[in-house]
Amino acid sequence: MALTPDRKRDIERAARRVRIDTIEMTHAAKCGHPGGPLGMADFMATLFMAHLRLDGETLHDPDRDRLVLGNGHTCAGLYSLLSQKGLFPPELLATFRKLGSPLQGHPHRNPELGIDMSTGSLGNGLSVGVGMALAARLNGWSSRIYVASSDGESQEGQIWEAATSAAHYGLSNLCVLVDFNNIQIDGVMREVMDVRDLRAKYEAFGWHAVDVDGHDIDAVDGALCEARETDDRPSAIICHTTLGKGVSFMENEAGWHGVAPDDEQATRALAELGV
């Protein structure tokens, strides 16, 4: 079913909030990874606002959905979305990466805040998703297990161990969203280590897999609906995105993978985002 105009407006608003929060959080922390969350903002906002059953009310329902942020360095975006879903007050975002904060530089599992898994070392997330999907099925729960991953992370061999096992066990309750922006720390992914056609790879591993424009909210929503209707295999949604999307001087620049904006850059970025 297509998104209603109201719902679409909610998603757009949430994605814009993710971008603003990401700039403010990394600026305040004077470190962090702004490029990824800016690029992922549209598809992650679509997931959180239209699909993921996780908010302040459902937090302690055992059969709620789960999200594992495999590319944990993009957690500024995760924290923004969790606060927008009422898991904690937005004021907490200002503590990002600071001593004593539950909002660690890479996610640390915190059942009270809706942070479902500790991640940070690439390659681990999808395996955790496999275990969660097996547990949900064993318990007869309707939980859907979402894993965020990336093209760079797909260079890790463990991803393909996990992909093999998810298909073997027919985990139709598992869905991976791959942020494919062709940028990694050392430069252009195609030049550093080309992972080639991830849709074809996931298909060859026995998954239902689609390519979408990761900034097209309707397309992402459609792919998430299709994944939910796929009842015999796991689903992979390859979200093609632009690193740093929404801030002109950050777009497609590998340098913005893991560097925080200074005062002047933050002001310019926020101005571009309409703040």
């Binding site: 599992r109 898994m117 681990n124 999808l126 395996s127 969660m132 547990a135 061999g157």
Partner: protein, 327 residues
């Protein structure tokens, strides 16, 4: 022959009966499976050898063979545990601890999840398979991980208790198991408790602190030492982490010399843990028996223990030399 008092278990000679600790693990798992609905077991294509096969037959819906992919198995175990399951994950020690160390650190220990890694085929007693399979570094790399409990059962009796204790403990546990049948040195009524060592033989000339197959060797060595008029205390240090600090300190003070023995690299395992504690609290002359910074080789289990100086006679020789250093 075997009598356990509140503190000391007296063992005259080790029982002739030999059972592999992996067999006790397999049996305990099936028992636990009957008692606990939340128990899930994973293996990486070695269920016949690690003895998880019994569980897989009894509870096929709660057993998942993850194929030859140990890293993914540990991540999967973490995911199951994050959803409330108590998970046992098994492979050979080399692959469970060695290949999947990073996954154990990131996905199991950091979030403190309820995953029990029961690793068989540890140490030299793997035998003929040789150095690629003789895991001699697992206590180092598992013990160094925060939140990880590390257990090395002395025999099949203790293995059964350790597996049950691991299931009851909240958080990650590493249990080191052996392929080769080894002597049963503890009485059937022995109760394993995490973090509690047991004194199997009293003596005050020196303390031999051992784990795993070396506990039997230590008892035999103590018997040999009586001919020299040396009365050795033999301590079964089944939990490497957390150490039974109180019992160790008392042994050091009362005996004045400590010899450790383990089927593991001499650095980074039991000996290092004991010396680390005693150096800070009650330093006494020490020696450590283990594998000396080398890999293993093919051979029969008993031959290898002699070849690497881990047999009773070698322990006794090292104990006599240590006695010379006592002031």
């Amino acid at each position: 022959m075997l009598a356990e008092t509140s503190e000391t278990t007296t063992v005259d000679t080790p029982s002739a009966k030999k059972v592999a600790t992996r067999d006790a693990y397999g049996e305990a798992l099936v028992e636990l499976g009957r008692e606990r609905e939340d128990l899930v077991v994973l293996d990486a294509d070695l269920s016949g050898s690690t003895r998880t096969k019994g569980f897989s037959k009894a509870f096929p819906e709660r057993f998942f063979n993850m194929g030859v992919a140990e890293a993914n198995m540990m991540g999967t175990a973490a995911g199951l545990a994050a959803m409330g399951k108590t998970v046992f994950a098994s492979s050979f020690a080399m692959f469970a601890a060695g290949k999947a160390w990073e996954q154990i650190r990131q996905s199991i220990c950091i979030p403190q999840l309820d995953v029990k890694i029961c690793a068989s085929h540890a140490g030299l007693t793997v035998g003929e398979d040789g150095k690629s399979h003789q895991m001699l570094e697992d206590l180092t790399i598992m013990g160094v991980l925060p939140h990880m409990t590390v257990i090395v059962p002395a025999d099949a009796v203790e293995a059964r208790g350790a597996v049950r204790a691991a299931a009851d403990l909240d958080g990650p546990v590493y249990v080191r198991l052996s392929r080769a049948p080894t002597p049963v040195v503890l009485p059937q009524e022995h109760r394993f408790e995490v973090g509690k060592a047991t004194t199997l033989r009293d003596g005050s000339d020196l303390a031999i602190v051992a784990c795993g197959v070396e506990v039997g060797a230590a008892l035999d060595a103590a018997a040999l030492l009586t001919a020299d008029g040396i009365e050795a205390r033999v301590i079964n240090m089944a939990t490497i982490k957390p150490l039974d600090e109180e019992l160790l300190r008392r042994a050091a003070v009362e005996c004045g010399a400590v010899l450790t023995a383990e089927e593991h690299q001499v650095r980074g395992g039991l000996g290092s843990a004991v010396s680390d504690l005693l150096a800070r609290t009650s330093p006494v002359p020490m020696d450590m028996v283990g594998v000396e910074d080398t890999f293993g080789e093919s051979g029969r289990a008993e031959e290898l223990l002699v070849r690497f100086g881990l047999d009773a006679a070698s322990l006794a020789t090292r104990a006599r030399a240590l006695m010379e250093r006592k002031s």
